[in-house]
Symmetry: C2
Subunit: 205 residues, 2 copies
């Protein structure tokens, strides 16, 4: 692509580095911004820079947060006896959107996947065991994607937790095998949380 | 969508204001940026803010430019006797990408479209007539999308230019009627410039 402006070229190249955005889409976005008021574009630019600079990760559950402890962990109305284990912060948002879950979360930051070189040590597993131990958590819900990696992670975590008096459950298999949690519709996802099973049932299938 | 972070919510909403970007895509982009180094996100944010603040529009051809006069108008190697009239700066880029055109441009900033309330006065038509008059332009190529609005604009411009000794041509109809200039493949677009026709031929069809 030939640009007559280095300013535009730089902006297009920056947009085109994002996933799913090619050069043509990047150009379309840049030309859209060019048509906006400078103050509005500044607001857009500031929101992005501020988000990345100021974002924190909750010291307890590793969810994204504006404070050291996230608003979910800090809430007085949530049930602190239940911890829902998820792969990433998108899954937290997906479950929050169902408005069916009132416990806390624990964001693993991935799932065990030897192919991608992700072992238990790269994940927030130690802090989960510590939470269960220190806080006497009554139930841990495994809300991981129903894939082989997800199952491996559930199995690993259940071994780690077996010495503590905690009930380990999994969300119901309402989601098709191989499906991605974040793309499930809210109805299915909500039901899979409501109908969660004790781990024994899950393993028998 | 429920966010546990106001920083993320603001950033997602800003992204979602752009054309073709919904809330889910906006969230995907924001989460991607979250995973990048802060310095890299700052660079992205700066490129956008700087682009909008510092961009100029060429005083001669109205193309986007880093200076008062754009690099195309200022170039010593381009043929200043030919002016190619286009609707917007995307069309300039599309034609530049063919690498088949060595003249100058004139960006109208739209086409005459009574339905959208765009009349000749909202477009850079006066400055085109002035250019032709003052610079003794030898040829004006109409490179407008082959739609009714494009044809109306060509007709209007040809009337405005008829008192000057300038040859008015149109790019060849290689592009399907109703098609958008910017989405044409480079081959077709290049050929349509090479095979441009005197306006008489075009009107007869």
């Amino acid at each position: 692509m030939i640009f007559s402006s280095a300013l535009i070229e730089t902006a297009v190249n920056e947009f085109a580095r994002m996933p799913g955005i090619g050069k043509k889409t990047a150009l379309r976005l840049v030309l859209h911004l060019l048509k906006q008021e400078p103050a509005q574009v500044q607001q857009f630019s500031d929101a992005i820079a501020r988000m990345r600079q100021q974002i924190k990760f909750c010291k307890q559950c590793h969810n994204v947060s504006d404070e050291d402890i996230c608003s979910i962990c800090a809430s007085h109305t949530r049930n602190k006896d239940i911890v829902c284990v998820v792969e990433n912060i998108r899954d937290v948002m997906a479950i929050e959107n169902t408005q069916q879950y009132n416990g806390l979360y624990h964001v693993l930051g991935g799932i065990i996947s030897p192919i991608d070189g992700i072992g238990p040590d790269q994940l927030n597993i130690h802090s989960l065991v510590e939470r269960v131990q220190q806080q006497g958590t009554a139930e841990v819900i495994m809300a991981l994607s129903p894939t082989i990696e997800g199952d491996t992670t559930i199995y690993y975590l259940s071994k780690k937790l077996k010495d503590y008096p905690v009930k380990v459950t999994t969300i119901a298999r309402g989601i098709a095998f191989g499906g991605e949690l974040e793309y499930a519709d809210e109805m299915t996802l909500a039901r899979s949380i409501t109908n969660r099973l004790p781990l024994e049932n899950y393993m028998q299938k």
